[in-house]
């Protein structure tokens, strides 16, 4: 579906809300539930007004019962509904792994195509303000690992809306991963319906010297790195995969071939994460005569610490990404680290939780 032109600026939160609203208006099989979706805070505003508009049968809070509620979503999907199940932290999805991996992912296959599971699981990655060990994880690689699931990590309000509409209409289970820091970001969002369908990445800044893939919130930091790198005449191409499963390897591979350097920055641990997958796919597909130098960045291989001095080091940021890209392009031995700039500033976060 071709998007209408964007005549307005919306926050990410609003884009999510609107996508759900439009789809619920359009299709009575879409229902929305999860802990606190109907409470006064309305999941950071992403479900604001929906219970009033669609009633408590279509929009409802649940008991604290992640496993059963995920299983219920699967059963609703069997029955022809299109449930959206919301978790305010991705960390809680660990309680729902059995249903997601053993049932949602496998139903279509193990029932020989007799059943399908058109459901969406929305979950949010936390960061900052001392949320620490259990409120900061980005576990999307778990779902990339398993055939039968799709995973999307939108980073702009435009994509937030378009991918959510695509996810709701998709006949497969989709993990829709929001980053709390992105929630407040604003951007152009067309009115009406449009989809940003699975499997297509976007070049968010064209460049010649190095390809930087930024996943989820790290897309923002990758764009900052792009700015910093201009200072040293490095022209970075930045790519947002948007959907990490199915993953658009072609766009990334094509870019890496052109620049000869690939830096994948993930908002997650690198080990067995999206960054290792992207690197592996690219190098595996290079022809014998091709070379691309590669590097991954992600969370430090530690638990996430709440103390600000430690947390600063836990995450990659525009400057450390720029430094890594510099080293990749110019070689080791002459390190460079940009000085922090006001105009390439970090977003800060102090709740709400």
């Amino acid at each position: 579906m071709a998007p209408a032109e964007a005549t307005r600026t919306l926050a990410f939160v609003e884009a999510v809300r609107e996508a759900q609203d439009l789809e619920m208006e359009r299709d009575s099989s879409v229902i929305l539930f999860g802990l606190d979706v109907d409470d006064p805070k309305a999941i950071l505003g992403t479900t604001r007004g929906l219970v009033d508009k669609y009633g408590p049968e279509r929009v409802f809070g649940t008991p604290l019962a992640e496993d059963a509620m995920t299983g219920a979503a699967v059963g609703m999907a069997y029955a022809g509904l299109r449930p959206i199940h919301v978790h305010i932290r991705m960390d809680f999805v660990l309680l729902a792994m059995n249903q997601l991996v053993n049932m949602a992912a496998k139903s279509r296959y193990m029932f020989g195509g007799q059943l399908s599971v058109p459901m969406v699981v929305r979950s949010m990655i936390g960061k900052s303000w001392g949320q620490g060990a259990q409120h900061s994880q980005s576990l999307y690689s778990y779902f990339m690992h398993v055939p039968g699931l799709k995973v999307v990590t939108p980073t702009t309000p435009y994509d937030a809306k378009g991918t959510l509409i695509a996810a709701i209409r998709d006949d497969d289970p989709v993990l829709y991963v929001e980053h709390r820091i992105l929630h407040s970001q604003k951007g152009p969002v067309p009115e009406g319906s449009y989809t940003v369908p699975p499997g297509k990445a976007r070049i968010t800044a064209p460049g010649r010297h190095v390809t930087i893939v930024g996943v989820s919130y790290m897309q923002v930091e990758a764009l900052r790195a792009h700015e910093y790198l201009r200072e040293v005449d490095i022209d970075a191409e930045v790519i947002d995969p948007i959907w990490v499963s199915p993953l658009d390897t072609d766009t990334i591979l094509d870019s890496a071939r052109r620049t000869g350097h690939l830096l994948v920055v993930d908002n997650a641990w690198t080990t067995c994460g999206a960054s290792s997958e992207i690197v592996a796919r690219v190098v595996e597909r290079l022809r014998p005569d091709e070379r691309v130098r590669v590097r991954r960045m992600g969370f430090a291989e530690t638990t996430c610490p709440p103390s600000p001095t430690l947390e600063d080091q836990f995450y990659p940021n525009g400057r450390t990404i720029a430094a890594a890209a510099y080293e990749l392009v110019r070689g080791p031995g002459k390190p460079w680290m940009p000085v922090e700039r006001e105009d390439v500033n970090a977003v800060s976060f102090r709740g709400p939780f």
Binding site: T62, M69, A73, G75, M76, N102, Y109, P118
Partner: protein, 323 residues
Amino acid sequence: MTSASAVDPAALARLFRSLYRIRRVEEEVARVYPSDKIRSPVHLSIGQEAVAVGVCDALRGDDVVFGTYRSHAMYLAKGGDLRAMIAELYGRQTGCAKGKGGSMHLVDVAHGVMGTSAVVGTTIPNAVGYAYALKYRRSDRVVASFFGDGATDEGVWHESLGFAALKRLPIVFVCENNLYAIHTHQLRRQHTGDIVTRARSHGLPAERIDGNDILAIRARIAETVAALRAGQPGPFFFECMTYRWREHVGPGEDFALGYRTRDEADPWVRGDQVTRLGGMLPPDERRRIEGEVEAEIAEAFAFAEASPFPSPDQLWTDVYGTR
């Protein structure tokens, strides 16, 4: 035991046919098994058929059931296609899941068999979600969720009952309590064996039906389903006491393992519902039914054997719906 006079002859014949058919299908599976034609773990219901048949006979064709890896009985009782089931066990293209499910993942959506799972407890919330959808759609259809006593150990059993009670869903929970999870007795896993009280604590009516009595089961489920269809809020819970005659998985007996005795099994074998209902039928009607069933079974196994294995490209289909 519910007296036979309460049941009309047609129903009696129907129940006997279903019981006998399941028993004989599974005996045939067990007979064929050593030939390695069925390369799939089989969890037989032999001895337990009364629960599935009693419950499913009280359901309508468009009602739906959810079960476990031990669901041959439920599948057949609900009307699942016999040929497709045997072909599935044989791993053939014509299987109910095209050879991609196996014995533990029987399915027949057209007849309301909504899927079965190898992970204990897993289909219980699926059944609850389906019931939510029925209520949301103002349907008068109902859901039956089958599971073993072992599943009631799991947290998800509680979560599922709690949510079903909270939303007053049109679902009947059916616990097939055969006293064991694999080789471990219920009382070695639960301090109190009183499953019904635990179910009730979530705010739903719950009762136990003793004696593996198909007529009692059928009567209570029929009343319950009628109430649900008439708009009475659910859910309802039934613990049906029963007994597995064969080993947990595989075709044989397992009394030699020592975790249970033949003495324990004896009363259940004596109370066998296939024999009981067979005895309630006029002998020639019984013979006629048996003959028809035997022919059907022979034909189904022949069908499975003659069916092709899936072609290699089938590996890649049914992974995703939207590409």
